[in-house]
């Protein structure tokens, strides 16, 4: 009955949106293939991949990503488990704390971090290693909203208290319960949280740039200032990386209800 | 001329036949139930009356005017949804007054009609509440009042009680009937609950797989079901395959026992099943009745009734006895005689 009338707009807006999404993507891809005048070539990609700075910064970010995601899991899984088990009253409060990185813009957060830890009594910016500690802490904080939410959703979907009590009644101790019952049931939630957090670390530019560490994001800024075609190639590479990461989450999360979406960050 | 007339309605969804040749005349003030299992086409038929679906073939007429293809908002037919479908952003009073508001009724009149509707459902004090603050039963009463406030020509109810607790369901059932009688409202009530249909209706339409199985008063539906489906869907029943000895006299053979029944319903058809309700069976042997002997297979307490299953040469016969204090209950494995009159069983 109403079908005929709605049809046009129901096609118009999605097609316009798809155009909006795909044109810059295609434009970038096209641009990235035109480094050699007059021909289509992968020269831009070859140049990027052969750049020692690219390799160094990428390795650095992957290592930092793994370290901070691991620490993040070690910190948040027991904390959220404990909240569900013993202090459910703390959940709303911790939830608010966990979204603070959304309220405090990254630039302000990094501002505070630098002003606090580059001065006595902390002095964490003097050596690269100490700065890396600060970097990891920063990454954990910045990815906290995603990590907390992923684990929280996973924890909510299983009956933590009953499972724990069942484990206890069968004679398991707390560590056994955590590692053999709770964590295996949270596998997917933890994994999707980890992938989101990892993607955040890879894409983050402000920390690396301002703390002057060779992070992937900082490398992008550097290349963007001096080159023309390489940035387009790097853009396609980051796009592909994000795509792989989100795709992996969707594959792992298939059949589970844990939601896995990042929120816009510019 | 009937008040509401449905004539040879067909409805197909792609290749599935949802409603197959449905015809029905409804008189003014009548309470009709559509009864059947889910997917039998009863809701689809109701939605065609409301105008949410259009028949593939056939016509619907209200007071002699054809309304088959009229849009729903031009029909003046009230509907109560299974999910209540109250607008969550409006108060109870605003919900009830909505139909009047969209037809540009003046504010004073709306107020009066809303007050009237609220008192009809005994919720005078709750007009300012939001649906989210009401219980399920209250929400459904508001939905009923909302449908009635537009003074519809027909009221449609689509399984209105199925989302509610058992106790509220009973209460609201009586309320619906009371209001319907008070307003003399022509009503179609869709349900899969035979008890609801039996207690509420003037007439019941039993449907199965898109077809009408039987249209009749509750007592005739229960006592004289015309098909095996109706017999087994409405109430509990024993149905056994039999071989015919004398079709004309209604004499059949059930595993070697000669059974005399009242004459089968469909003229000319060859009966293959015998049916008898559990409550028609009596313990003991009685001359002149149909007598069967078997072993007690199980005894179930159902509260007011005790259901006893008797194994009569491989046929499991259910018998219901009222649970009186002095009732002596046989033990499982006991030899047991039962009888039933030839009037109480029939052939299908």
């Amino acid at each position: 009955m109403r079908k005929g009338k709605l049809n046009f707009w129901s096609f118009f807006w999605p097609i316009l949106a798809m155009t909006y999404f795909f044109v810059p993507l295609y434009g970038t891809l096209d641009f990235s293939l035109r480094m050699k005048k007059g021909v289509i070539s992968l020269l831009a990609y070859q140049t990027v991949l052969a750049d020692p700075q690219f390799i160094e910064s990428f390795q650095y970010s992957v290592v930092m990503g793994i370290v901070s995601v691991t620490l993040s899991i070690l910190l948040f899984v027991p904390t959220v488990y404990w909240i569900y088990l013993k202090v459910p009253k703390a959940r709303p409060f911790v939830e608010i704390v966990s979204i603070l990185p959304f309220i405090i813009p990254t630039i302000v957060f990094v501002f505070g971090l630098i002003r606090t830890f580059s001065r006595p009594p902390f002095l964490l910016t003097l050596t690269p290693f100490k700065t890396d500690i600060l970097m990891a802490a920063g990454y954990i904080i910045l990815s906290m909203p995603y990590m907390f939410r992923a684990i929280d959703v996973g924890m909510r979907s299983i009956d933590v208290k009953t499972l724990t009590e069942a484990g206890q009644s069968l004679g398991a101790n707390w560590l056994q319960i955590l590692f053999t019952i709770i964590i295996p049931n949270l596998r997917i939630a933890i994994l999707s949280g980890a992938l989101i957090a990892f993607a955040t670390v890879l894409g983050e530019m402000i920390l690396g740039d301002f703390l002057v560490r060779p992070a992937f994001g900082a490398y992008l800024v550097l290349v963007g200032r001096s080159k023309a075609y390489e940035p387009a190639a790097l853009s396609i590479i980051s796009y592909a990386l994000t795509w792989i990461m989100l795709g992996a989450i969707q594959v792992f999360a298939k059949g589970s209800s844990s939601q896995s979406q990042l929120l816009g960050r510019g | 001329m009937s008040y509401l007339n449905l004539k040879n309605i067909y409805k197909t969804f792609s290749s599935n036949v949802a409603v197959d040749d449905f015809s029905l005349d409804i008189a003014q003030g009548e309470f009709i139930s559509f009864l059947g299992p889910s997917g039998c086409g009863k809701t689809t038929t109701l939605r065609m009356v409301a105008g949410f679906e259009y028949p593939t073939a056939g016509s619907i007429a209200l007071l002699g005017n054809e309304i088959t293809n009229l849009p729903p908002n031009k029909r003046n037919i009230g509907m109560v949804f299974q999910s209540y479908a109250l607008f969550p952003n409006m108060t109870v009073a605003e919900n009830i007054g909505f139909g009047l508001k969209v037809s540009n009724t003046n504010t004073i009149e709306i107020k009066a009609r809303v007050t009237e509707a609220l008192s009809l459902i005994h919720m005078q004090d709750l007009g300012g509440r939001y649906p989210g603050q009401l219980s399920g039963g209250q929400q459904q009463r508001v939905a009923l009042a909302r449908a009635l406030a537009i003074k519809p020509k027909v009221l449609l109810l689509d399984e209105p009680l199925s989302a509610l607790d058992a106790k509220i369901r009973l209460e609201l059932r009586l309320e619906i009937r009371r209001i319907q009688k008070q307003l003399n409202m022509t009503t179609i009530y869709v349900t899969h609950d035979q008890e609801e249909a039996l207690t509420l209706s003037d007439r019941i339409v039993v449907m199965n797989q898109g077809r009408v199985e039987q249209v009749d008063t509750p007592s005739r539906i229960y006592n004289y079901p015309s098909t095996e489906f109706v017999a087994s869907f409405v109430g509990h029943i024993n149905i056994f395959p039999v071989s015919v000895i004398d079709g004309g006299e209604g004499i059949v053979d059930l595993s070697g026992n000669k059974i005399r029944s009242r004459k089968h319903m469909q003229e000319g058809a060859i009966p293959v099943h015998m049916a008898v309700r559990p409550e028609e069976l009596t313990p003991g042997h009685r001359e002149g009745a149909n007598n069967l002997t078997g072993n007690i297979h199980s005894v179930q307490y159902l509260g007011s009734v005790v259901r006893i299953q008797i194994d009569v040469s491989g046929n499991f016969l259910s018998m219901d006895l009222f649970n009186q204090r002095d009732l002596s209950i046989p033990m499982v494995g006991d030899r047991f005689d039962v009888n039933f009159s030839s009037d109480s069983c029939w052939l299908l």
Binding site: L6, A17, P24, G27, L263 | F52
Partner: protein
Amino acid sequence: MQQSVKNKSAIRWWFWLIRNPWLGLLPFFLFIIAFLILPSLNLFVGAFKDQQGQFTFANVGIIQNPYIQKSFRVSFQVSITTSIIGTLFGFLVAYAITLGNAPRWMRNILMSFSGLAANFGGVPLAFAYIATLGRTGFVTYLLKQVCFTNSKGQVCPFDLYQNGFNLYSMVGLVLAYTYFLLPLMVLTIAPAIEGMKKDWREACENLGGSTAQYWLYVGIPILWPSILASFILLFSSAFGAFATAQALTGGSIYLVPIVIGQQIRGDVMNNPNEGYALALLMVIVMGVAIALYTWLQKRTAKWVAL
């Protein structure tokens, strides 16, 4: 012997934790205090100190500084414009792929692509726009080819840069921000639109309401809090964005985050405490936005919990 003593102390420690369950959250809170609360407090306390460390409200006076005022004005302009575009456009897209009649494959592509694009911010996004709409970009080049000859000679109506377009401007920022705000809107509003029950529409029609009346009295009032909440989410996302703007315009457009970035690098304001005050003002804007968002979410939750 040694073992049992160790065990005993472990058990005692354990019982102490059970009796004081809040202490189990100690590691989390220590971490948060050290790396989130302390740095933030440091800024906010600094905002109320003068250069000698005395308490003062003077720093908040930077709001009268024309340079700061301009940065807030530009930030608001960019964020509000792009959020409005994102909200309207995103709503229409989300409606078309949920309740509209858009085919299933369009919905699948748009939903999964939105998840991707909402996360495709920062520097790579800026690169993508430069490659597409920059002076030598792909689309710029294509549009430039559309020319025809009239009485005044050759005219190229779509030569963007001849016609005053500049990617490294506010317009460019709005275009780029929309790239991640539009999908963010689609992702946040689609569940709300899908939550609209078909029964509401039918009930409305049944009571005599037209399609327009349905939207006026039922559809929009129910969706309104969700739409507004999404708008605020988009706004705060745009307001806090730094990387895209920095990489696209090289800091030539004075957004609030850009000014803070310059302050971190080189104390452009000559007074670190004024820098802290600026950061505080920015957090206040974000805080108000998020508080509104939470409040609106609660409002819708009341309705959804039917």
